[in-house]
Amino acid sequence: MNVPVRHFDAVIVGAGGAGMRAALQLSEAGLKTAVISKVFPTRSHTVAAQGGVSASLGNSEKDHWHWHMYDTVKGSDWLGDQDAIEYMCREAPKVVVELEHFGMPFDRNDDGTIYQRPFGGHMSNFGEKPVRRACAAADRTGHAMLHALYQRNVRANTQFFVEWMALDLIRDADGNVQGVVAMEMETSEIVVFQAKATLFATGGAGRIYASSTNAFINTGDGLGMAARAGIPLEDMEFWQFHPTGVAGAGVLITEGVRGEGGILRNSDGERFMERYAPNAKDLASRDVVSRAMVTEINEGRGCGPNKDHVLLDITHLDPEVIMSKLPGIREISIKFAGVDPIKAPIPVVPTCHYQMGGIPTNYKGEVVLSTTDNHSDIVKGFYAAGECACASVHGANRLGTNSLLDLLVFGKSSGNSMIDFIKTQPENLPELNMAAIERSVARVARLDGQKNGTNVHEARSAMQRTMQAHCGVFRFKDMLAQGVAKILEVEEMIKTIEIADKSKVFNTARLEALELENLIEVAKATMISANARTESRGAHVRDDAEDTPANPNGRDDQNWLKHTLWHRDGNKLDYKPVNMTPLTVEAIALKTRSY
């Protein structure tokens, strides 16, 4: 076998916020750094982030990193690692000001400082009252961040490999990472990127669900590659959902619609929220609304041919109010739901938004296999940052604006860890593990040679429907158990996926098939981890986890204050303790999470 090999000090898979922040660190240190991306860097999914990035700058009112830390631990429902959370919150002001110096056009106060606004869950004085902590660049924070980081990387001579898809991670016989196998889309040529240090910053995997706010590119490639290479995935049962996305499309319908008088109805036309929340009704909190919607669907009162969504009705509102108070909603509804909300209700469903779990790392971005702590059993030469990694700062539930912060802080810290590691490595790269490379090449060959196999689109849709129905925003014991069996059946289908187009040049069908092989790893990890965790915590909410004085909201600290580690091999689950030892301050003690 003759696969060309390219050599670098560092190879980074992913050119979103996390990948580019890390690359900058490495390139500015003079190291030869390659960044591989499926799409042009500024079209990475980070572009979708509008809300902002959090940092306790205290520009508009008093703030402190320790308060930010408290909010993040509480938001995580105590599943976040407190060493990593302290690190992130302390670093936040530094990395945000650095980004400003890189040319990020933040909104400003009259005195020239960065303007900050309040955002859900961010409070002052240990949970007392909302604080202004979110820094934004109009409604284009993610876009502006990518732009600033890209310009800076070009200046620092980072080498971008755009329209390349990484296929597999290469580990040697001792498990150390040697680089990745990747495919150039233009030619389908397979090339090895060998490096002293490898970072995954491949973003989220929201496309495992039928309804997702994520762009099509979020297929969890880094997680699939890691799992195939024997790296476990951490806390994959935790996914954040939004109650009202357009069914079948995923585009969000803002909560303001219910605020203006929108009513949720089931297939009988009933205003079902009256039964679940007699006082707040349609304005109950996100989790209550999501839970009611799912219960209606599960009990057979869903709408549409598949009875898989409910309706958001604003037909009783004055069209003038719809146009003036809810700008854009009519257009979104017509364009993505095919209905004019002035005349007919909008089909909606709880929609997947953000993945809290991922490749297990510590706050230095090092990938950790240990089941006891975050600093032993480190995979040499392997790092992960951003949404594909689990540091774990978001625990069971992420606070808004903490994700862009995560990209900056852990992108930078992993870059620094890589620099330190690369310095310890001999100049000549070691011999490559050819068996690992051959397995990757064989995977592509299997796909090209498959006859009488499964259609990619059908298999993907079977996976997405299974995840949505069995492992959505609100979970039931029996549904989860059936879900495990079903997702393993889908996996069997995916083993024989076939593509009709076998051409070499920009073969989108082949790329989508390879992406599906990554998605299914994430789907299995999610379903199996969720089935095993018999408590409710943060975004993982189970019907059978009872709210008792010992286990408020169904959270069972005695048995479940621990991280899940799913192994692809045998679908085995391990657990590791949550870090409750911050770096310099006292632990934030366990409490019931209520706002």
């Binding site: 799409v39 876009h143 099509f216 590119i217 995923g250 364009k335 920009f506 073969n507 989108t508």
Partner: protein
Amino acid sequence: MSELIDPIEKKRVRWRSRRGLLELDLVLTRFLAERYDQLTPDEFAAYVRILDLPDTEFLELVNGKVETDDVTLAPIVAMLRSV
């Protein structure tokens, strides 16, 4: 007419129609299914130019928040708005 468009270029542009924003993915998927194969070379060239826009500006053009004053882009913008 469409045979005048380089088939390899067409495949490349199909991949470039994958974007960072879900709304664009949804619109472009329909566009690729319903209109892409019938584009004239001029329309195709205009589409390629639109794809060079940052996603945020591209979306505003597609959902009618902004208008283009470039007459050569107008037909393709109209098509994207109608799918």
